[in-house]
């Protein structure tokens, strides 16, 4: 077959730059960059001007200055006289993370319970769960926090007439007072036994897996693990107690002039914040869980049942693993929401990052730009780290498709 020569030369014809998509694209991008740059530059320039005019110092040196104020709830030692603004930042950050961590755990538990209840075959349970979800989701969180704070405060007795609960637990407007466990100096045995128990449980779990693979027999992993982790230390403790040794003593709260002293105190601000966040977020998690479970098709469950798998096994091996893929991404964003929402602590006076740092520190130092930037950076970091972990997870569990 012959190949007739093309009639026209094969040089690429000229394209008017006005209509060349590449040139247009470059122009658009350049334009955008210029606009963004200009905006940023104006903002920075104005800020610098304004700060200079207002004679506000700038820079992060203030973090080393002595704070001079007190914080009532701090996991690290903090004293007005000696601690710095930097330390105040750390206190706020830790308080934020603590609320977030506790909130996430509790909200997950409550959320899963409600989500499963929402799908219950029991009509009244399903309706109750639905009402809970609808009511809670449609009322602003701030309002709920204020409500819990006021409700908690006004429902409780004053410090002088605390409710005394069994086991030296007291409840009053200043919070919940629990005995604070103190480890005696010679109680090294106890954590050791606990560690041994956990190690044993892990080892047993591995062993059980091997046995199962070899013989098909299933060992009672959960029961043994519970025994090892909880039972063993308790037994040792009991033994020591019998011998007249006290490995753990409790510092009990006692009445002071105004208030109970000593013990472990859960502040009402903290309780209201955690309560509000948990109840609010759990409603969203419940919806996520419900959607996740419903996303596993009926056919999957039926196939498992048809194979003779029992309902518990079906749930564990077939439904939950598949539901989790659907649940985890929105669940993570709920976790992020909870963490971000913990900034509402400012409304109930719990000293979280926003309250201490963006509130008190900003006011005492006047360094708005630095403080706001640091605070936002913290939240942004949390978000980005979580998002990238999530992406990794998603890639790992993504279903393999053709």
């Amino acid at each position: 077959m012959q190949t007739p020569a093309p009639a026209t030369p094969r040089s690429s014809p000229k394209v008017s730059p006005l209509y060349d998509p590449r040139i247009r694209g470059a122009a658009y991008q350049l334009l955008l960059l210029v606009v963004v740059g200009l905006l940023a530059w104006t903002a920075i320039d104005n800020a610098a001007d304004n700060l200079r005019n207002a004679r506000i110092a700038s820079g992060f040196g203030f973090l080393g200055n002595t704070a001079g104020f007190d914080v009532n709830q701090s996991l690290i030692p903090f004293a007005a006289a000696s601690s710095t603004y930097g330390a105040a930042f750390v206190v706020g950050l830790i308080n934020t993370l603590m609320v977030a961590a506790i909130g996430i755990v509790l909200a997950t538990i409550l959320g899963f319970l409600v989500g499963i209840a929402r799908l219950s075959e029991n009509w009244i349970v399903a309706r109750l769960a639905e009402i809970y979800i609808e009511v809670i989701r449609n009322i602003p969180l701030l309002l709920q926090l204020l409500f819990w704070y006021i409700a908690v405060l006004s429902a409780l007795p004053s410090a002088r007439d605390s409710y005394a609960l069994p086991g030296s637990v007291f409840l009053n407007q200043r919070g919940l007072f629990l005995p604070r466990p103190l480890l005696a100096a010679d109680a090294w045995a106890l954590p050791l036994v606990l560690a041994l128990g956990i190690a044993g449980a892990v080892a047993f779990r591995i062993h059980a897996g091997r046995v199962q693979r070899r013989t098909g027999r299933r060992l009672p992993v959960r029961r043994v693990a519970a025994l090892l982790v909880l039972g063993l230390p308790l037994a040792v403790w009991g033994l020591l107690a019998l011998l007249g040794l006290a490995p753990v003593t409790f510092e009990l709260p006692v009445k002071g002039t105004f208030n109970l002293r000593g013990g472990l105190q859960l502040y009402p601000e903290f309780v209201a914040l955690v309560l509000g966040l948990v109840i609010y977020t759990a409603a969203f998690i419940a919806e996520v869980v419900r959607a996740g479970i419903q996303a596993v098709s009926r056919g999957q469950r039926e196939a498992a049942r048809a194979l003779g798998l029992q309902s518990g096994t079906t749930l564990r091996l077939v439904v939950i693993p598949q539901a989790m893929r659907v649940i985890v991404p929105p669940l993570t964003s709920q976790y992020l929401n909870l963490t971000k929402n913990s900034s509402l602590a400012v409304a109930v006076g719990y000293p979280d990052l926003v309250q201490i740092f963006m509130g008190t520190v900003l006011n005492q130092t006047g360094q708005a730009v630095e403080v706001v930037a640091i605070t936002m950076a913290v939240y942004l970091t949390i978000s980005l780290v979580t998002a990238s972990v999530m992406n990794l997870y998603n890639r790992r569990v993504a279903l393999v498709e053709r």
Binding site: N53, R55, I56, A57, N72, A81, E269, G349
Partner: protein
């Protein structure tokens, strides 16, 4: 640009005054949006001096937290909001405090039934305070100095702080003594609360302006002094028109019938006359808002004229 506050105000046609929206006696709007208070009247006095019209003020409610930024950013022309004049604020925040219009000090309020009579007995107490104030710092200092333990519960707004105290969250409530009296009015049962005698700090409350506009600072400063001098000279809102014909040289200089002192600060020579005529002298304003003519019933105390044993001392107008 920093010099031009007065020009700016004249151009706008009103004075932007940063004020406290929730401190009875100092600054508080009623349900119709009418503002009253000592700090509020100071702004009115300024407006009277500038515009001959005390209503040409816009009050901008500010919280303790954003008051200084509001001033720095130019949102308000003056911050008249019970703010303590301290060295760090004066030097690092880029502000000036031209004159002290209320000498105050931080105190405590407790529930009567606690039986506490002195702040020294507050060892181990929970204390409610507002965050971002000098109060918070003084509190820490005081308890440290007296080796007392306490638990601080800090809130973002004065409302929340007081409500928390009132509902029993704290044993004591601390703020400037003037504030204590004003807040007590809002208690569920005002008489169940007592103010403790200790004053643990110096709190010279002063209007603040941006640093770098000397003329504006002078206007603010001399507005206050004019009100003091008027009280000292016995010029009141009621008698100011008669006083205009007085031949007391002090009075003449104050009311601008002799000399053109007002023009030196960019105003008219009858500026002080306008202030007293339209707003009143310092004593009148004090009594009307926080003194015996008000529910607060605060004594003049440190805020009496120097001649009556107080600290309010108006430099001579001459």
């Amino acid at each position: 640009q920093a010099q031009a506050t007065l020009t700016g105000v004249k151009q706008k046609g009103y004075l932007a005054c940063g004020s406290n929206p929730a401190l009875a006696g100092f600054g508080v709007p009623d349900a119709q949006g009418r503002w009253t208070g000592l700090d509020v009247d100071f702004c009115r006095a300024l407006a009277a001096a500038i515009f001959n019209d005390p209503t040409k003020v816009r009050f901008i409610p500010l919280s303790a937290k954003d008051r200084f930024t509001a001033l720095q950013s130019g949102e308000v022309d003056i911050l008249s909001r019970n703010s303590t004049w301290s060295m760090s604020r004066d030097t690092t925040l880029g502000l000036d405090f031209p004159a002290v219009n209320f000498y105050d000090g931080q105190g405590f309020m407790v529930k009567k039934k606690l039986g506490v009579t002195s702040a020294k007995q507050l060892d181990g107490a929970s204390i409610c305070t507002q965050q971002g104030t000098t109060t918070e710092l003084n509190l820490a200092d005081y308890f440290r100095a007296n080796k007392l333990k306490y638990e601080v519960v800090a809130f973002a707004s004065a409302d929340e702080t007081f409500k928390a105290y009132d509902s029993g969250r704290c044993d004591a409530f601390t703020t400037d003594a003037s504030g204590l009296y004003s807040e007590r009015l809002r208690a569920t049962a005002p008489d169940d609360n007592v103010v403790l005698p200790e004053i643990i700090s110096k709190e010279p409350l002063a209007p603040a302006v941006r640093q770098g506009d000397a003329q504006w600072a002078d206007i603010v400063r001399w507005t206050h002094y004019a009100m003091l001098n008027a009280e000292e000279a016995g010029i009141t809102q009621a008698n100011v028109d008669q006083m205009k014909s007085s031949d007391n040289p002090d009075v003449k200089r104050i009311l601008g019938t002799e000399g053109k002192y007002g023009e030196a600060i960019g105003l008219t020579s009858d500026w002080a006359y306008r202030i007293v005529k339209l707003v009143g002298n310092y004593g009148e304003v004090f009594e009307r808002n926080v003194g015996q003519g008000s529910p607060l019933k605060i004594q003049r105390g440190l805020n009496a004229l120097w001649s009556k044993g107080g600290l309010q001392y108006g430099p001579p107008i001459r």
